[in-house]
Amino acid sequence: MPFIEVSGVSKSFPIKGGTRHVLQNVSLSVEQGEFVAIVGSMGSGKSTLLSLLAGLTTPDAGTIRIGGEPLKGIRRDAAFVFQNYSLLPWLTALENVRLAVGAAFPELSRDQQRSRAQQTLEGVGLGNALARRPGQLSGGMRQRVAIARALATEPQVMFLGEPLGALDALTRESLQGELARLCGEGDGRVTTVMITNSVDEAILLSDRIVPILPGPPATLGTPIEVALPRPRSAALLAHDDEAARVRTHVIATLTAALSGTSRTRKAAAAMRQHEAESSERKATEMTIPAAEEAR
């Protein structure tokens, strides 16, 4: 049974002069330990979907079940990383993480909480910035603190809301590597749902990509498996054929949905067909000379 099960969920918001139907009949399932990336452009409804999954809002229709139980508000064993850090500026990095540890494990003493917080911060490479306030940290470091805060509570499920969206391109790249390492290692992998607008980020980090097709109302496209071995690195993936195939597939799906006409959808389908044929051709081309040489 999947760990997270979303069935037929719809959500609308009242706006001036009517309602905005953000999501319609959305279904998704996430297995335990899986990393799912929901990819779509801005305003496509992915933040709303994440809010629903996180229990921050309730759907108008449909059900969400996590761990077999219907979702009622924010789960105790869930952790979040938002796009805009949300660190308390009057607490040090250590104190920010300790606050989360204290709320999740109230039975631990202050010192135990602090040492756990310190461990996690060291794990994200901030061992020498424990006593600094968010104002004294760079954007990348602040996001690391936010990630440490999420991981320190030892969650069962993590929700990442465009976690690297507010960072510059270079910091984003290096933090992607960090995230890949943190979320991808070990046996007890945390079930993670991430929303992002970067296809490459999704390929680097996730096991499955779910494209969100813009509406309104938005719907989910067919999930695309990312069957690449871990650990992954951006350098390796840049030259990987499978990664390129997945990338093309995802972008084609998203572009086709954006244009919305059947003509472009047919064009996208033709492109996919062409890709499949050319890779087949490459495979056969490579064997023929070998066969000739063998003769």
Binding site: N84, L91, L99
Partner: protein, 254 residues
């Protein structure tokens, strides 16, 4: 270097001009003493600030001290009442709607109107003065604290929700630190009002202090001392404001 000299000279020029205006006015109005005469008749109060020659005939420092003690008590009472109320109104739109009309009506009432009521209720002048100071000076603290709570960014509320912080932790770790700058702005304004009120209340009740001294000297026709009292009130008020401002600045840097 030149800039620093000019920066020191300009206020002195301003003061010089003000003294000129005073002197001019004293020439025109026979009862108004000139700056020179004011100094002559007042210097004993300034040069012997800690002297005590009689109930109302004391050095300026002593008189200011009495007034400050009263201000301190009333001001503290005011902020002790206003701060929790400010938090309550800040978090609850319902309570705000309930009490806003009352607040808007009570706010503009002058201390001179509250004082007789205070005397009726408390019978004695000290508690009446404290009551008048508290009820007049509490409004900036109350309003600023409520505004501060309402100004807390949604981000911080999200943190409390998402980390599942207890109500107590949310209050101590998020609400109070986020509202502190607003609270201190309120305290500064409240202190200014409290100082205004003490002078008025001392004048009305005749208790020893700067205001009491002022009124007594007016009744004794020693006008130079009125001006002395006025200057003292102004300088002490300025010093209080500055001290509060320093406390506020330290908080912002922290």
């Amino acid at each position: 270097m030149a800039k620093r000299v000019i920066n020191m000279l300009l206020p002195l020029c301003g003061i010089g001009l003000a003294l000129l205006v005073w002197w001019g006015a004293s020439m025109a109005v026979p009862d108004l003493p000139s700056p020179a005469r004011t100094w002559e008749e007042s210097k004993i109060y300034i040069l012997e600030p800690m002297a005590k020659r009689g109930e109302m005939d004391q050095g300026m420092a002593r008189l200011a001290y009495y007034s400050l003690i009263r201000v301190g008590r009333g001001f503290l009472l005011g902020i002790v009442i206003a701060t929790p109320l400010g938090f309550l109104l800040g978090v609850s739109p319902l309570l705000t709607r309930m009490f806003d009309p009352i607040m808007q009506v009570l706010r503009p009432i002058s201390p001179l109107a509250w004082l007789p009521l205070g005397l009726v209720v408390f019978q004695k002048s000290e508690p009446a003065a404290m009551f008048a100071i508290a009820i007049c000076s509490m409004w900036p603290t109350l309003i600023n604290t409520a505004v501060g709570v309402r100004a807390i960014p949604q981000d911080y509320w999200n943190v409390a929700k998402v980390l599942r912080l207890s109500k107590f932790t949310t209050f101590t770790r998020i609400i109070v630190p986020a509202t502190l700058p607003y609270m201190f702005t309120g305290y500064r304004l409240s202190l200014g009002i409290a100082w205004l009120v003490i002078v008025a209340s001392e004048m009305l009740t005749g208790t020893p202090g700067v205001g009491g001294f002022l009124w007594q000297e007016y009744n004794s026709l020693v006008y130079a001392h009125i001006l002395l009292a006025i200057l003292t009130i102004g300088i002490v008020g300025f010093a209080l404001d500055r001290l509060m401002g320093m406390a506020e600045a330290k908080l912002r840097a922290a």
